[in-house]
């Protein structure tokens, strides 16, 4: 590109090492965190943590959290919060459970219906935020309580008094779509790998890892799509603009309101996706599902380099943020530290991980 050639000759620009250029991307700090945490656990944890099955094991919660975290990151880049996603997981799980178990709908109907419900709730959140001009924090906080309460009331209503709805696994058994949302993918491949002795087996002879849990595939897919949208499409540009400066964006012709409402809908749908995956996986749903997940999602996004004030961040960063969070929470169970110290460690590791990647970034890019 001629433009680049001209730049290269500018005497006001020092040549910049490749590494420094890389570290300027918000997500790369998070990779540093992943490396640090990995080194820590390699040194302290049971060796089974980094076997294939161990890795799948900590990636599974990371994946569920990550799907929410990436959605939260996009919304945060767009300048808003959604505190209702945790409750949305419970609510969408309840809707999905009732549709499949009580109404006996097949997945091909119940899944789209769940997404529609979720998207509607997201749109309502967005509309209230836009119309009232209130901060999304307070509006979706109301959503947090309302949806959580509604899940409780709904579950009690549909189960005749229990806060737990069971029997989803039986209801979806044999459904064409089930393998898309539950279980492990590429099972045949892993069986074959186990047969030729490349991966470990249990004493009983089944491979220790029966396949890649589908949520991990969803997680990767969501991260890729989100990154593509953010960095390569016009909508992505609008998201950054809407979060960076609402007025400036709107004055430059960005349809800020539409962008924000779409983001709220996407976030709610991400929660619904996690709800569907976990409900099919566990075969049940209860009123506490997704509890506190809204905060974990925000944490994930922030570890991944998003600014709480909006306009800056990345989906890939949230991807790695979720892996850090998943590794730390599950990883401690592989170590011999006393569970009482769990929270001290979790906090300490989070702090060290973010301080570390922050320090690295500053050093490499030469910022003050």
């Amino acid at each position: 590109m001629p433009a680049d050639a001209a730049m290269a000759m500018d005497e006001r620009v020092k040549t910049e090492p490749f590494l420094a250029r890389l570290m300027k991307r918000p997500e790369l700090g998070a990779i540093g965190g992943v490396i640090l945490v990995t080194i820590f656990f390699l040194a302290t944890a049971d060796s089974s943590m980094f076997t294939l099955s161990g890795i799948m094991n900590f990636l599974t919660p990371a994946a569920q959290l990550g799907i929410l975290g990436i959605a939260a990151a996009m919304l945060m880049i767009g300048g808003e919060f959604d505190l209702s996603i945790g409750s949305m997981v419970a609510f969408a799980g309840m809707i999905f459970g009732v549709l499949t178990v009580n109404l006996g709908l097949p997945l091909i109907l119940s899944i789209p219906a769940t997404f529609v419900f979720a998207a509607l709730v997201g749109a309502v959140n967005g509309l209230i935020v836009i119309r009232s001009g209130l901060p999304s924090f307070i509006v979706t906080l109301a959503g947090l309580f309302i949806l959580r309460g509604a899940s409780l009331v709904g579950l009690k209503l549909f189960t005749g008094g229990s806060t737990q709805l069971r029997g989803v696994r039986e209801a979806v058994e044999g459904d064409m779509l089930t393998p898309l949302f539950s279980g492990d993918a590429f099972g045949f491949f892993f069986t074959w790998l186990a047969d030729i002795g490349l991966i470990e087996k249990f004493r009983s002879g089944t491979p220790k890892v029966p396949g890649i849990p589908v949520e991990i595939l969803w997680f990767v897919l969501v991260a890729l799509v989100a990154t593509y949208v953010l960095l390569r499409t016009a909508r992505g540009n609008w998201i950054f603009a809407a979060g960076g400066d609402r007025n400036a964006a709107s004055n430059s012709g960005v349809p800020v309101d539409k962008v924000k409402i779409a983001l709220f809908m996407a976030t709610a749908c991400a929660a619904a996706l996690v709800a569907i995956i976990t409900v099919i996986d566990s075969g049940s749903t209860d009123a506490r599902r997704g509890f506190m997940k809204e905060f974990e999602a925000i944490i994930t996004a922030v570890i991944g380099g998003c600014l709480l004030t909006g306009g800056y961040g990345s989906a890939i960063g949230a991807f790695f943020g979720a892996i850090i969070f998943g590794m730390v929470t599950i990883g401690l169970t592989y170590t011999s530290f006393d569970q009482d110290w769990f929270q001290v460690f979790l906090g300490g590791m989070l702090l060290i991980a973010v301080l570390f990647n922050n320090a690295i970034r500053k050093r490499v890019t030469g910022e003050r």
Binding site: P61, S162, Q164, F202, G283, R288, R289, Q339
Partner: protein, 286 residues
């Protein structure tokens, strides 16, 4: 022997810290290596992942609580498939054997609720409230359901958040707004039981309103001993931590295992016994 315990209650929950103390005491006595783990909130999805993580380490024994059989069964089955002996404790008596657990140590939350309800009705209670500090936590919800069943009279569930001042205010509010309420059942001794007693006392209704609570705390036991509270429902959860570890250690070493379930409760601590258990409670044993 390496034994891993995965429970659904948190390490800082007074009830579960007693379970953990039991497991640790057993570890010391048997020389077993015990790891006690639990998710940060009542989270069945994360709990199943923690069981998976435990299975990956192929311990010599696994102790789990089963508040949601549907959610946890694949992980527990995977453990059994992997040849790890499993003992369930606290909750899940009904499904333990079906899932392949060797045995169950504990008490059904529901049954304990029924027992408490019957006792309170017997003591003259006619209209009750069940103060639940964690609505949606299935094992706590079952306590209230059991209470309603055993009590017979009308029961209102009062959901609260995790704060003694708020619990106290809510209990007062409930008693203020409905003078017929004469029975209060709390689902946790320190978080609900003690503030409930304080509320009743502040309203000058001590003796007229029955207060009982699940689990023990030194403060609540003192109230029981002083006659301000009716009784505390004790699951002897120390045993739920202690026994499975001992059993699994024996199993690992000598292949020994008891043939049947062990009911650890319910055990109602009333005024006559309360004084004796206060000290044990203050040490985290009861």
């Amino acid at each position: 022997a390496d034994i891993i315990v995965v429970a659904h209650g948190q390490a800082n929950d007074p009830f579960w810290s007693v379970v953990k103390n039991g497991a640790q005491e057993a570890a010391e006595q048997t020389g077993a290596n015990v790891d006690f783990r639990s998710p940060e909130t009542f989270d069945m999805v994360q709990m199943s992942q923690m069981i998976d993580a435990a299975v990956n380490q192929e311990p010599d024994g696994l102790v789990v609580s089963i508040p949601d059989a549907d959610a946890l069964s694949p992980s527990i089955k995977r453990a059994v498939e992997a040849g790890i002996p499993v003992i369930s404790m606290n909750s899940g008596a009904d499904v333990a054997h079906e899932l392949g657990a060797k045995l169950h140590v504990g008490q059904s939350e529901y049954d304990a609720g029924v027992a408490a309800g019957q006792k309170l009705a017997e003591m003259g209670g006619t209209k009750g409230i069940c103060v639940n500090q964690e609505v949606g936590n299935v094992s706590l919800d079952q306590r209230c359901e059991g209470f309603a069943e055993g009590f017979g009279g009308p029961v209102q569930v009062i959901p609260t958040m995790n704060d003694p001042a708020e619990v106290q205010a809510k209990v007062r509010a409930a008693l203020d707004s409905d003078e017929d309420v004469d029975t209060v059942l709390g689902l946790g001794a320190s978080l609900v039981g003690e503030p409930a007693v304080a509320a009743v006392e502040a309203m000058g209704l001590t003796g007229e309103v029955l207060v009982a609570s699940f689990d023990l705390s030194a403060g609540f036991l003192q109230d029981v001993a002083d006659g301000k509270a009716a009784f505390a429902i004790d699951q002897q959860q120390f045993l739920q931590g202690y026994l499975p570890v001992v059993f699994l250690a024996m199993n690992a070493e000598y292949g020994l295992i008891p043939g049947g379930d062990v009911p650890s409760g319910p055990n109602l601590v009333t005024q006559d016994m309360a004084a004796q258990v206060i000290d044990l409670s203050a040490q985290g044993i009861r």
